[in-house]
Structure formats: structure tokens, C-alpha cells
């Protein structure tokens, strides 16, 4: 049903297929609202969740999606350091292949690792985040959440705020949103915005207040404290003053902006608690839509039977 066998990233991904995934996700979303939240769509399929990097919500979200679809799942977690000491990437991949797995959901710290995996296995590969490259399922759930609120993606003004340089969420969102006709602005200090980003068809801003005026929705990205140590931003205080999303700032604009965050949040830094818990924040809807989106992706890629 989808043009590509794997879901490695949204760069060049067909817009029609993104729409198909989102539409399918909405029908699975209905399943999640039922008292019995399980369908037999992927019965007999085996999926391994291969996490080379710590992740709580993405892994749980995938696992839940797989269980809701009645697939058999196996989890494999390895810290990168232990992997480096022992088995090579190729051996890990070949072991998976030998165990006759239908799909691999992989999180890896190195960009391109999921593509690398496709060269060693026949299974369907789904990228659950590869370094600062892409995180396509996150972008799809973000777009699904926008569509839920606005009824459309096309023509929306969406701002990505925060650490764009080190964010796989940013790149996938940019590809997906622009493919579906949204306007995207990235906002943060120049040290956290990668050079050449404007070649991807986005605008760059360092003025959060101006972005507030322009945007329909803000997707606030997590700021990582270790970036401070290497001088990418000087202090939490300074970051909060310039790029922190707080009620005071929102009130000044008097506009009902939709607030998103892929989590985990640094409350009080990039987003204030009052904002995170306000009714204009759709952060928890994103979490639920994440399960529905991942169900849709697994279902479409693994060719399950249509659910009645």
C-alpha cells in the first residue's frame, strides 16, 4: 500500500503515503477509544524493537502499538558502549535475520544506521530515530495531532522552537510538513540552528515573539543541558529569557497558539509548567496519537488484513 518497503525517513517520502498513514492512524485512534483496545491485524507477525540508545516513550509507544495489533514482540536494548566492545553491527543484524523477524524497529545513535541495517536484513525496517538525522514516526504523529486540531495541514504556520541542530524531530518534521504544504519556521539561537537549513524551504528566526505572531502552532523541542557545556548556549537563564515559552509571553500576544512538545520536557526551561498543562497544549494527545500512528505504520508496512 505504501510505495517504500521501509520507513527510514521523510526526506523525499511521498506526500500521498504520509496522508495514507495519517488517515489510517485516525481509524486506529478509534480502536484506542474502545473498551477492548486490541485488533488481530498483525497476528503471527514478529517484530523486534532494537534500541541501541535509551528511550522510554518511543519504545513503549511502539511496543503498545504492536501489542494492540496482536503482533509478537521482542525487545533488545543495548547501550552503545557495550555494543562497541562486543558484537559488530553486522553480526547483530545477521542474527536478527536468522531469527526470521518480520520487522525491526530501530533506534540508533548513528545517522544512517537504519539504512545500513536494510543492507543486511530482509525484514521491514522502521527508523525510531537515528542520531540527529530523522525520527519519521514522531513527525507523523505530530502531523496527525495538527490535523486533529486544525482539520488540515496545508497552509498552517508551524514553528519549531529550540535546538534544531541536534534534533532528529526537527528534520523529519520539516520534510513532512513542507511535503503536505505547511509553512515552517525554525526558531532558536544561531548556535543551535544548523547552517544551510534554509535550503530545506524553511524560514529562520531568532525572535520568539515574532514567531508567536506568525504561527498557528509551536512544536517546542527539548534543550539538552550538555549543549551548554560546549558553549552552544550560555545559561539556562539566558535561554529561558530568549526562547522559553511561558504564560506571560503567550498572554502578551493574546493568541490561542497550539503548543506541542515531543517530550521529555524540561519544565521551567523551554516550556513552563503552566503552558505545558494548559488546554492549548496538545502534548498528551501527541502521546496517544503516537500509538495510533505507529499502529498505522506497522499495519501498512506489514500488510496486515484490513480491520472491519
Amino acid at each position: 500500500m505504501l510505495k517504500q518497503k521501509h520507513l527510514l525517513g521523510l526526506e523525499g517520502y511521498p506526500a500521498q503515503d504520509i496522508k495514507t498513514i495519517i488517515d489510517t492512524a485516525f481509524s486506529f485512534r478509534e480502536v484506542l477509544d474502545r473498551p477492548i483496545k486490541k485488533v488481530p491485524s498483525l497476528q503471527g507477525k514478529t517484530i523486534v524493537n532494537l534500541f541501541f540508545e535509551n528511550s522510554t516513550r518511543t519504545r513503549i509507544s511502539f511496543e503498545l502499538a504492536q501489542k494492540r495489533l496482536s503482533a509478537d514482540t521482542v525487545n533488545f536494548s543495548a547501550s552503545t558502549s557495550s555494543l562497541k566492545k562486543g558484537e559488530s553491527f553486522k553480526d547483530t543484524a545477521q542474527n536478527i535475520e536468522a531469527m526470521k523477524i518480520d520487522a525491526v524497529v530501530m533506534r540508533h545513535p548513528d545517522p544512517g544506521a537504519p539504512l545500513h541495517l536494510t543492507k543486511h536484513v530482509d525484514a521491514v525496517v522502521i527508523n525510531a530515530g537515528d542520531g540527529k538525522h530523522e525520527h519519521p514516526t514522531q513527525a507523523i504523529l505530530d502531523m496527525m495531532s495538527l490535523q486533529e486540531v486544525f482539520g488540515k495541514i496545508k497552509g498552517l504556520n508551524v514553528a519549531l522552537v529550540g535546538d534544531i541542530s541536534h534534533s532528529r524531530v526537527a528534520l523529519s518534521n520539516i520534510y513532512g510538513l513542507t511535503a503536505l504544504g505547511a509553512n515552517v519556521t525554525v526558531c532558536g539561537p544561531p548556535t543551535l540552528i544548523p547552517p544551510h537549513i534554509e535550503t530545506l524551504g524553511v524560514k529562520v528566526s531568532h525572535d520568539l515573539d515574532a514567531v508567536f505572531e506568525w504561527a498557528d502552532a509551536l512544536n517546542i523541542l527539548r534543550i539538552q543541558m550538555e549543549r551548554m557545556g560546549v558553549g552552544l548556549f550560555p545559561s539556562v537563564r539566558e535561554y529561558r529569557n530568549l526562547f522559553g515559552v511561558n504564560t506571560e509571553r503567550l498572554d502578551r500576544h493574546g493568541k490561542e497558539l497550539i503548543i506541542m512538545h515531543p517530550g521529555p520536557m524540561n519544565r521551567g526551561i523551554e516550556i513552563d509548567s503552566a503552558v505545558a498543562d494548559s488546554k492549548q497544549a496538545i502534548i498528551l494527545d501527541q502521546v496517544l496519537n503516537g500509538v495510533a500512528s505507529r499502529m498505522a505504520i506497522l499495519y501498512l508496512l506489514l500488510g496486515g488484513k484490513a480491520e472491519e
Binding site: 553491527f89 548513528d110 544512517g112 539504512l115 545500513h116 538525522h133 530545506l200
Partner: protein, 429 residues
């Protein structure tokens, strides 16, 4: 490829003799006796002479590469002086200079002697380049004079830049007393940061850390100015950016003693080659933008670039099968060098074969102080025979290195090396 001892008398018949030193090219026969050039022209060969038919082929100086890594001592699983020699012969190279970033590094007279003694048994001429600083740590100078006595032809901490400008200045001053060039891997490590590919649109899209062009060209500029200050000779290895070419061109105009080399891979590929994270394209300095690549090609025609050097850097399959982030930097290049550069120059520039060959022969020999007049009667036959218009496909069978990490596998080339004559042996491909 077959290597055997040359017959007592060898006649190279009906070839075009291309002399990059004198700038001449004409049909001549060459008689080689006991491994030495006996006569050139239309000499009469004795009946006992073995004839090598060179009809339609070009006979020229054996190629000289001032920048290879043969990994000995320490990583003999990647390459040795012996296996590297075979790769060189396959590429038409009769003479190479090995970089000192071995394990342990070549930073003492004893380690230089280790190479020269081992090299004596190899089928090509191998010259060690000594480390500039002890342990390649960028601090204390090595015993350069003693190392020169043991056979060191230049000094470099290659792989690692000499970050401290004062150390670089002293190294240049000291080496100038010995009339040896300093070769500095120009890369500002702070500015490079975690960069593993060229910083640009491609690095953004691939999510890989970028290495800005300035990390190289800033240090190239620094090294040129330091050389000027100390009146010493500096050689810039593997120039990869257009800004570096600009700095070298300006310095040459101002009379600084600066030379520069470019690699076949920087002339042939740009950073778009990394699109599928193929680790065979991971190299330092990185493959740059198309604009940079074009400027490097132009640098050859303008005379800014003095020589072509392969930076032949073998790595094991296991190491290169890692993710792009974890794979080591470097690619092999001896076997494919002539064909790759010939192909690019033929397709993109109207460079004469004579001018191009000078960058593989006379110019690198001048830089290292080797004999450049190879068609003199009585000199050792150190020759390469090639077909500049032959088309062929480079594949794994074309590789003679112990490692297979070539980015050229599968490429269609114009121009092929047919035979390499050196040290009394003839290698026919």
C-alpha cells in the same frame, strides 16, 4: 598482474616516449640492459633481447607518490611495505613516501632505519617520512638530522595537525637547516569539532556532523605564513577546498616556498557521494562541494597544484563495515590513481598528458629531492607504460592492496597502466 625479473636485455619497441622533464613526446625505442637504460632512439638491439611491444602505448617516468600509508609497523593486517608495493606497481608507481603515523610512529632514527632496511627488499623504492614531533604529540621536535641520515626525506605528523603555531614555526626553521620540507595535515581540530564530512547541505540532510572548509584553509594560510617567516619549505597535503587553492596560489605569486598536492578522490568525487552513508567515502579531509572539486581541477591546469598524491590509506573490511560515524577515515588509491585523474581531466579539461604526467613524476620527485632525469642513459629503468585512451572498469580484481576500501570500485575509467619497470623487475598488468 605478473612481476618478474627483467631479462638481461629488454627492448621497448614502438612506444611513444613521453619525457615530463624535458617536455617532449616522440616515437622511440628504448633498450634496457641489466635494469639500466642503455640507449633511447632507434638503437639496434642484440638478437638475444626480449621485445616488449609498446605500439600505441606511452612510456614515461615511473610515478612517484609522496603520500601513502603502508601501516607498517603496527597494522600489518591492513597493509605492509610488501603488499603496498604491489598496489603501487599495479598503479604504475615506482617510488613512494610512507607517512609516519604507524604504531609506533616513525619518530626516531631507529624507526626510520627499520623502514629503510625493510624497504631494501621491496620491489619499489620506498622512502620514509619522519614524524615532526615525538610520538606525533605536537610538542617536542624529533631528531631530524639523525633521521635524515637514516633516510627520512621529509617530516610530517600526518593524520594529526601540528596545532601549536610556535611548534610549527620551530619545525619549519629546524627542517630548513636540513633542506627538508614539512608536510602538515592542515585542519584546525577545534573548528572541525566532531565533523566527519564536509559541512554543507549534504551534512545537514544526512544528520552527520559537518567539518567546515575553514578548518582546513585557515591552517593552510597559517602554515604558508609561518613558512614565509622562517624561509622554510612547506608542503600542503591533500588540499580539498577552494580557499586553500586560493591561499597557495597567492603564496606562490609572492615567492613563498610552498607546494601542494591533491588526491584523486578529491578531484573525482564531491560530498554528494555520501548520500547512502557508504563508509568508503569517509576520508580526511572530507570530500567537499562540487565548487571545491572544480577549483581543484582548475588548480591543476593553472599550476597551483604541484602533484597528485593518493593518501593511500588501507583499512580492514571489518572496520569499514561499521556505521558511518564509527568507521575510520581513509581510502586506498594507488591502483586507481592514474586512471581516475586521467578520466576527470579528459572529461573536464583539455590538459595535455605531458602536463598531467608531470604531477605524478617530475614534480613530486623535485619536492623530495629525488633524481628527475629518468631517461638518461645509465640510470636505473624506472618507467611506467600506459594506454591513455583505453577504457575499462575498475573492480575488486584491480586491487592489489591488502585492503579493499576503494571508493572507485565499479567506476568506468579512461586510461590504464600496462606495465611498471623498476629495481630490475618488470610488472605487466
Amino acid at each position: 598482474m605478473k612481476t618478474r625479473k627483467m631479462p638481461k636485455v629488454l627492448l621497448l619497441k614502438n612506444g611513444t616516449v613521453l619525457d615530463p622533464l624535458k617536455g617532449t613526446s616522440s616515437k622511440k625505442d628504448i633498450i634496457i640492459e641489466n635494469g639500466k637504460i642503455k640507449s633511447i632512439g632507434k638503437p639496434k638491439a642484440p638478437k638475444s633481447a626480449e621485445v616488449l611491444d609498446c605500439t600505441g602505448k606511452v612510456i614515461t617516468h615511473g610515478f612517484c607518490d609522496v603520500h601513502v600509508h603502508f601501516r607498517e609497523p603496527g597494522r600489518e593486517d591492513k597493509e605492509t611495505l610488501a603488499t603496498g608495493s604491489r598496489a603501487a606497481l599495479a598503479g604504475g608507481f615506482t617510488r613512494v613516501c610512507v607517512m609516519p603515523n604507524t604504531n609506533p610512529p616513525l619518530d626516531s632514527p631507529e624507526s626510520i632505519r627499520f623502514i629503510t632496511e625493510k624497504a631494501a627488499d621491496c620491489p619499489i623504492h620506498i622512502h620514509p617520512i619522519g614524524a615532526v614531533t615525538k610520538g606525533q604529540k605536537g610538542m617536542e621536535l624529533t631528531e631530524m638530522a639523525a633521521m635524515v641520515r637514516e633516510g627520512a626525506v621529509a617530516f610530517s605528523d600526518d593524520g594529526l595537525p601540528i596545532a601549536n603555531a610556535a611548534v610549527m614555526r620551530r619545525a619549519l626553521e629546524y627542517a630548513s637547516m636540513l633542506k627538508k620540507p614539512i608536510i602538515n595535515h592542515a585542519e584546525d581540530l577545534d573548528l572541525r569539532d566532531d565533523g566527519i564530512m564536509n559541512e554543507g547541505e549534504m551534512s545537514l540532510k544526512l544528520g552527520l556532523d559537518g567539518n567546515t572548509f575553514l578548518a582546513e584553509s585557515m591552517m593552510v594560510f597559517r602554515d604558508i605564513e609561518l613558512a614565509r617567516l622562517s624561509g622554510a619549505a612547506v608542503h600542503i597535503p591533500h588540499v580539498s577546498t577552494k580557499e586553500s587553492v586560493t591561499h597557495v596560489a597567492a603564496a606562490k605569486k609572492n615567492g613563498a616556498s610552498v607546494t601542494a598536492e591533491v588526491t584523486p578522490h578529491h578531484l573525482y568525487f564531491n560530498d554528494e557521494a555520501l548520500v547512502s552513508y557508504n563508509t568508503h567515502f569517509k576520508v580526511a579531509p572530507p570530500l567537499r562541494s562540487e565548487a571545491d572539486r572544480k577549483t581543484l581541477v582548475k588548480g591543476i591546469t593553472s599550476g597551483t597544484i604541484d602533484c597528485i598524491a593518493t593518501d593511500h590509506a588501507p583499512h580492514t573490511i571489518e572496520e569499514k563495515e561499521a556505521t558511518f560515524t564509527n568507521a575510520p577515515f581513509g581510502m586506498i588509491g594507488l591502483e586507481s590513481c592514474f586512471a581516475a585523474v586521467n578520466t576527470i581531466l579528459k572529461k573536464e579539461k583539455n590538459v595535455s598528458l605531458l602536463d598531467f604526467i608531470a604531477l605524478l613524476t617530475v614534480n613530486p620527485r623535485k619536492l623530495m629531492g629525488f633524481d628527475t632525469d629518468l631517461f638518461q642513459e645509465g640510470t636505473e629503468a624506472e618507467l611506467t607504460i600506459l594506454s591513455p585512451d583505453e577504457t575499462w572498469v575498475f573492480d575488486e580484481d584491480s586491487i592489489y592492496s591488502r585492503s579493499l576500501n576503494s571508493p572507485f570500485t565499479g567506476e568506468s575509467f579512461i586510461g590504464k597502466v600496462n606495465a611498471t619497470l623498476v629495481r630490475g623487475n618488470m610488472t605487466v598488468l
